[in-house]
Amino acid sequence: SKKDDGQKNLSEIRIGILQTPNDVAAARQLGYLDNYFKKKNIKIKYIIFDSGVDANKALISGDVDFATMGDTNGVVAMSSKIDAKLIWVNDVIGNNEGLVVKNGSNIKSIQDLAGKKIATPFASTSHYSLMMTLKKYNLLNRVSLLDMDTQDIVAAWNRGDITAAYTWQPTLTPMLKNGHFLINSEDLRNQKVITANITLVRGGFERNHPKLVADLVKQLNKAHEQIQKNPKVIITAASKQNDLSYGEAKSQIGTSEWLTAKQMTEQKFLTEEFQNQLYKTGNFMAKQQTIDHAPTKAEINKFVVTKYVDELGEK
Amino acid sequence: MEKIIEVKDLTLTYPGGTKPTLDTLNFDINRGEILTVIGKSGCGKSTLLNTIAGYLHPSSGEVLLNGETIVEPSWKIGVVFQNNALYPWLNVAENIGFGLNMRHFNKAEINVRVDKLLEQIQLADKKDDYIFSLSGGMKQRVAIARALANQPQLVMFDESFGALDEFTRNDIHKVVLDLWKSLHLTFLVVTHDIDEAIKLGNRIAIMTPDKSSPMKIIDNPYFNIDLEDIDSEYIKYKNRILKQIV
């Protein structure tokens, strides 16, 4: 809890995780995290969240120290002045999120979606990607958007209640059996519309235990280095952690990019590119009135703490 | 004398009961009389009345109305209950007209009969009032009028005046006797008040738990007696009844 913040000898770190085969899952399975922190007499407690929405709530109430979420939820956290910092980009989303339509429907291109029902989980990266797509094709107020959780999207898809959906894996797999992508987040990434999963740390924790934050980033970075050298090891580990088959885990990871600290530093990813993206995202969401004010560049700069990645990357 | 009701070997045992509550009863009710029934609490007065009304079915024996076996309740036998059982969602006139309405009389006919009864029970000005605004005595008068609206062959009262205070009860006794006289009705009045049984009954039926003669019907010389005229003979007569009950 928050009270432990001042304490020098911390006995437990609580991490909010998503149930997906990501770097945290792999690092956890491979013992990068637990073994490492056990040496410091620190236990790690994992708390599963269904979405970044709930993770944000837990950050506010002080029930978690770290939380993984989509960057859109990060923007929400920033604009609602939650005391939290962005310290890590877990992955840049690729074809594991996308806009699908049913095979054989009359939708040949994105323009054909005008007047149709499209489902997506609101406040998610998919939501943002969908909105950017719609904006580009001038469809913003010409489709009816439905806010649904992923399981409800599958149900509605099977019943034919919706024409299209922007969602993520594993929901996509059954839908792609009788459907296909109109666009996916990899395409958007190539058009410089980036969405990513990020890790936030609670402000109080970061101020009191910067060394532990650095340690955690270092361990996650290990998974990133590993996947580029030897993807099989990571995919196998992530699949085991999430009770998936190798194939399932592989397709759920898809073409998402796990940048190492080194790559992030070299590409000035955290210091420039991603901060620009957050700025654009914030502006768009504010315009959509989903958040009440757009974060300024200065706010973003305070929110994104680059030193942990930089320290690692410059080695 | 013409018999309206014939009770023949009437026996009734409640389901689950071991002893019969009514045990081979035999008696008649004559057209135009008032028969009062008196007996200790639990001796079966209400059971008898419910059987004649058709709510209960004899275990053996039968009850005849004008020579026909009674199988279910009908408008031909009216009943006035202790707690009047007036319908609170209907006003006074609608309560009185209820039976006629159910029997699909036309509106005009219903109005005529109801208005006449309202006159007779002296409640013409309460016509549109709802039941909850009436006093206890008024309620019982409406209940009597409701039972009479159908012009039934027999009207039965089950301790209908027991909840009223002495003064109101005296008023109601007068109303009952007036109606009986002017409309040539037949009444069966169940009560556990001996004075009431004597005041209202042409004949008095005494129910006893004694199986050899569960019911004794006696003539009543003091029918409609005025309180002022009570003498020691009356007291003796009353005490004789009292002793037979206990």
């Binding site: 506010i60 929400v76 002045k81 439905l146 | 209950f81 039941i131 039972a147």
Partner: protein, 258 residues
């Protein structure tokens, strides 16, 4: 008597004023962060803004009307189905034997437990929302009807039969009005149950409704909007109940009077 009542009304008013002042103080002194507890002014300005500009492009009154419409159609459906079934169940033992155990079984199940199944069966449209509310609203009316029928004064039925009413007439002219006070209590409970379920119903695939607005606002951690929504639901709930009590007093005017 009246002076006394005014005194107690005064105490109630003071209680709310004290709450308001404490709220104002706590937020003014920044004892809690704004996101946990927005200030009264903030909530009021948010309410004004929502009234002016709507939420998510849809006017606030429209969100409100939609929610009420869903609620009332569900309760309406429950009324016209549960009353006949309940009255029959109370009167005819076979009907009771068939339906009661099923309803008793379904009644306690939390609506959220079967919402996903409902969506699989009837889709994400208005139907599933109304059906969910309907299922929440059904049992209270049904149970109230049964208890109403059981409580009917047997003397009413006896007297009606002796006045010449047939079994059918007894049902419509005696049983039904006798059970009406209980039915109204049931309807009030039923509205309460459906009302409690309204946010759950609007959680899936809705794009308007006060419940949806609250859920959506909670995704973006807009606690001011959540407060506005909660106040709207709270006040509406009280008004709805008072309204039903008023109608009840009009229709079953005799109830409670000896």
């Amino acid at each position: 008597m009246k002076a006394k009542n005014r005194k107690y009304l005064g105490i109630t008013v003071i209680t709310w004023l004290v709450l308001l002042i404490v709220w104002q103080l706590v937020t003014a002194l920044k004892i809690t962060p704004e996101i946990l507890l927005p200030s009264p002014e903030k909530v009021i300005t948010t309410f004004i803004n929502l009234s002016k500009y709507g939420y998510n492009g849809i006017p606030l009154w429209y969100h409100f009307m939609i929610t009420m419409l869903r609620l009332l159609s569900a309760v309406g459906l429950a009324i016209i189905t549960a009353i006949p079934l309940g009255l029959l169940s109370g009167r005819i033992k076979i009907v009771y034997a068939i339906f009661d155990s099923i309803i008793q079984f379904i009644r306690p199940i939390p609506p959220l437990a079967y919402y996903t199944l409902l969506i699989l069966w009837v889709g994400i449209g208005e139907t599933s929302k109304v059906v969910l509310l309907y299922l929440a609203a059904f049992a209270p009316i049904y149970l109230a009807c049964i208890s109403g029928v059981r409580k009917v004064n047997v003397d009413y039925i006896k007297s009606a039969r002796s006045l010449g009413a047939s079994s059918t007439q007894v049902f419509f002219h005696i049983i039904f009005p006798s059970a009406l006070p209980d039915i109204f209590t049931g309807i009030r409970t039923s509205v309460g149950m459906a009302y409690t379920t309204v946010v759950a119903a609007e959680m899936v695939a809705a794009t308007y409704g006060i419940g949806w607005m609250i859920v959506n606002a909670s995704k973006y951690l807009k606690s001011d909007v959540m407060f506005v929504g909660i106040f709207i639901l709270g006040i509406t709930g009280v008004i709805l109940d008072q309204l039903l009590k008023l109608i009840e007093r009009k229709i079953v005017f005799w109830s409670g009077k000896s």
